[in-house]
Amino acid sequence: MGTRCGIVSPYSPILPLNNGKASAHEAFHFWGRCERMPESLIAIGDALPYLLRGSLVTLIVVVGAMALGLVLGVPLAMGQVYGHWALRRAIAVYVWFFRGIPLLVFLFLFYFGLCTALDINLSAFTVAIIVLGLISSAYQSQIFRGAILSLPEGQLKAARALGMSDIKAITVIILPQALRLSVPGWSNEYSILLKDSAVTYALGVAEIMARAHFVATRTYQQLPLYFAAGMIFLILTWMGTKSLRLLEEKVRIPGYGSSPQLAAESFDP
């Protein structure tokens, strides 16, 4: 490897993926040079596998953060709806805190601040998932809270009237319904998280944006590379909302229509 089109390859220092099995890549490149393909296309073609690997990182960060946000968000919502007033107050502060501070500040605070101060050795990748997850838990708790509150009060009454304890009534009757109602909210949360995850590039997480930036600054092909990064984000957004729409359809209670919100949000080319 080494030089290509007279430009220092940006891939060699950090890309184990090219080691040894770069033949298809080289062939493409060779073909491109012969045919005098526009340099921008060549740049995208060269960088694409690298960027796509970044989209895997992005997806893991987003899915991890959503899962963490879900696991924390459900009990937070329960606490906020059914808890003692002190607990409700505490959760409201938690939500206010995590929704009120910019993501970038949190990332730096956690990674450069907390981790250093407490001498915790966490990778940027892990910190990205934790920070995005905490912030998402605040938002997701409000999605669930809304869902729980939108259920008719009679559901809980009927469960209690059968002799169910409150815990049982909430887990068996309220939760399954609230989770279903939350799917459109998740779709929204997914696309926000996906876009927010680009900020983790500031910590050096090797996600789409970090990789696009890395290649762009070295090949001087900023336009095509950032454009490609944007397209990848767009496709990931589309795939995610589409899957959540399918999920919604799958868990839909027979007799109910699908939510107009999700139908309006998802775009079907």
Binding site: G163, P254, G255
Partner: protein, 265 residues
């Protein structure tokens, strides 16, 4: 369907002790006294009908009886044992024995008819799913909905929903049923099917307290009519006495108004 009729009058003579005894229940919301000391003795096999204008406190009284609303004062006995509702275990055990039917059905929307009827037996009584399922089918058959057991609430008519909710309550083997205007949310043509189920229950000796405006139905079945107004029980008596020979002017006024509204009796 099993039709074994218990002669109601005989029962009342045998059972000296009321199956359900409610004493001096009071409830206030903020500054408003919604219930001002209501007492009621219910004997086995009784069908007590609560009537009274909207806002009289009928729903609150019914919900105080199974402590869905916590009364500020008052005591409740079931089969001679006082219910200590502050003890959760006591409360949950008691509620299993008191079936509740709501005006707006309150079926669990994410469960089909069969699952709605089964869930109490499985989750509260800890019955095995299969056994509970068989019982659920039986109860649905009893209310004439065996063919609809796979349907979800959103796929059922109002009358069918209310019949599922009755089956759901019956599956818990209640000693007493509380019915809060079970047909008020129904279109007129669907009221009959629900009344038929309730009549059948009464004929089989179920003890019930029902709030309703359907006085034609009420007077044909009731063992006693209880007239409530403004959080108080003003008058009680046989249907004949309340509808034709009430002592209280308010009772007479209400009865003539409701007779006009809800037709022949």
């Amino acid at each position: 369907m099993a039709h074994w009729r218990i002669p109601r009058m005989d029962c009342r003579h045998i059972m000296a002790e009321p199956i359900l005894r409610i004493e001096n229940i009071s409830k206030r919301y903020g500054k408003k006294d919604v219930l001002k000391g209501a007492s009621l003795d219910v004997n086995k096999g009784d069908l007590k009908i609560l009537i009274g204008p909207s806002g009289a406190g009928k729903s609150t009284l019914l919900q105080c009886i199974n402590f869905l609303v916590k009364p500020d004062e008052g005591r409740v006995w079931l089969e001679g044992r006082e219910v200590h509702y502050a003890h959760k275990r006591d409360l949950y055990a008691y509620r299993q024995k008191v079936g509740m039917i709501f005006q707006d059905f309150n079926l669990f929307d994410h469960l089909n008819a069969l699952e709605n009827v089964r869930i109490g037996m499985v989750q509260v009584k800890g019955m095995p799913k299969a056994e509970a399922g068989e019982r659920a089918v039986m109860e649905l058959e009893r209310v004439g909905l065996k063919d609809h057991m796979q349907k979800y609430p959103a796929q059922l008519s109002g009358g069918q929903k209310q019949r599922v909710s009755i089956a759901r309550a019956l599956a818990m083997d209640p000693k007493v049923m509380l019915l809060d205007e079970p047909t008020s949310a129904l279109d007129p043509e669907l009221i009959g099917e629900v009344h038929a189920v309730i009549r059948d229950l009464g004929n089989n000796g179920m003890t019930m307290i029902m709030a309703t405006h359907q006085i034609g139905f009420a007077s044909s079945l009731a063992s006693e009519i209880v007239f409530m107004e403004d959080g108080r029980i003003l008058e009680r008596g046989t249907p004949d006495k309340i509808f034709n020979d009430a002592q209280n002017a308010r009772t007479r006024e209400f009865c003539s108004k409701i007779t006009e509204l809800y037709g022949e009796r």
